[in-house]
Amino acid sequence: MAKGVKPRVKVPKTAAAGSSITIKTLISHKMESGQRKDKKTGELIPRSIINRFTCEFNGKSVIEIDIEPAVSTNPYFQFDATVPEAGDFVFTWYDDDGSVYDATKSVAIG
């Protein structure tokens, strides 16, 4: 597991049934592109990025993102989701090193 990786998500706590909400996500990650060289050795630093992100609500897909090294350090995504009923958003980030990071946020209807 890469050091210091910390997911952050911003989701409203309540929403009207069937309404649209805006979600923001950010995970702290270096996103080593594989294009840089180690200043001391001159060797290429191997690529190490978050390569995929998914957001689901009660098991149904909101968005899936395939990520390449051109996405900036501390990858940030904003998108809109429909909230048909009360439930849980599950956010998952997949690291090149095999690590998987997740976060869950509950939304009530109100």
């Binding site: 952050r8 923001k24 900036s72 501390n74």
Partner: protein, 283 residues
Amino acid sequence: MGMNLFKTTAAVAALAIMATGAAQAGEDAKLVINGDLSIATQAAAPAHLENLETVYSGWVFRTKETQALEMDDFDNPSFVFVDVALDLYAAVDGTEGKSCASCHENVEDFAGLTTSMPRVNADGALETTTDLINECRTERMGAKAWKYSGTDMSAMLSLVGLQSRGMPVNVAIDGAAAPYWDKGKELYYTRVGQLDMSCSNCHEDNYNVMIRADHLSQGQSNGFPTYRLKNAKMNTIQARFKGCMKNIRAEPFGQGSDEFKALELYVASRGNGLIVETPSVRN
């Protein structure tokens, strides 16, 4: 002297060759954070500033896209580091079995501290917030001092500085602080390095000018530590001093040196009246 002046003028002219003086997109924007914290980005220059009438936050000189990153605490990547600092704040470290929170239960109690730093302590020495944190670590926690502008320190400075966000900068420059302030002022106006330039050549004489592709600010410190797009991390004011000195091909002073502490005080005093924006976002 005459030769030096000519050289410097030529250097500045060459660097500023793309100067347009034209306003960039974001110049008239108003800084409102999270929709409810309105921050004035200019103020009447403090009385001691002879050559400026108005002081401006560095935020004013950025493009509207960079400005927007500071206008919402989720969009502002600094808050990743503030989160890291909150964990550090609660983490026991050192031989005494203490965390920051053992003595300072609420980090909110640091509200206002950053506005008056650096300051002269009871022993007559000039101290920065960095010094205070490391003094706590080594003397009260029995922990190792953090690297002056390292990841842990810059994160903690961001968390502590955040508690003063929205408050005006107001460092003391008289009394016991006067000799340190004088020294900082002298450094600010002294030309150094192969380019033979002083802080004032860019940040007083030529602010709001394009230096090639970069829009020069007044070099104010009210937003530090700042998250820079360039390196995607928190940058302390003394790390920024070092970067500036390297740019003018000078040998930088050490971080935590008497010179940089005095300069930190003097630069802060140039922003007396500006509002603390820590943790800010810059290019």
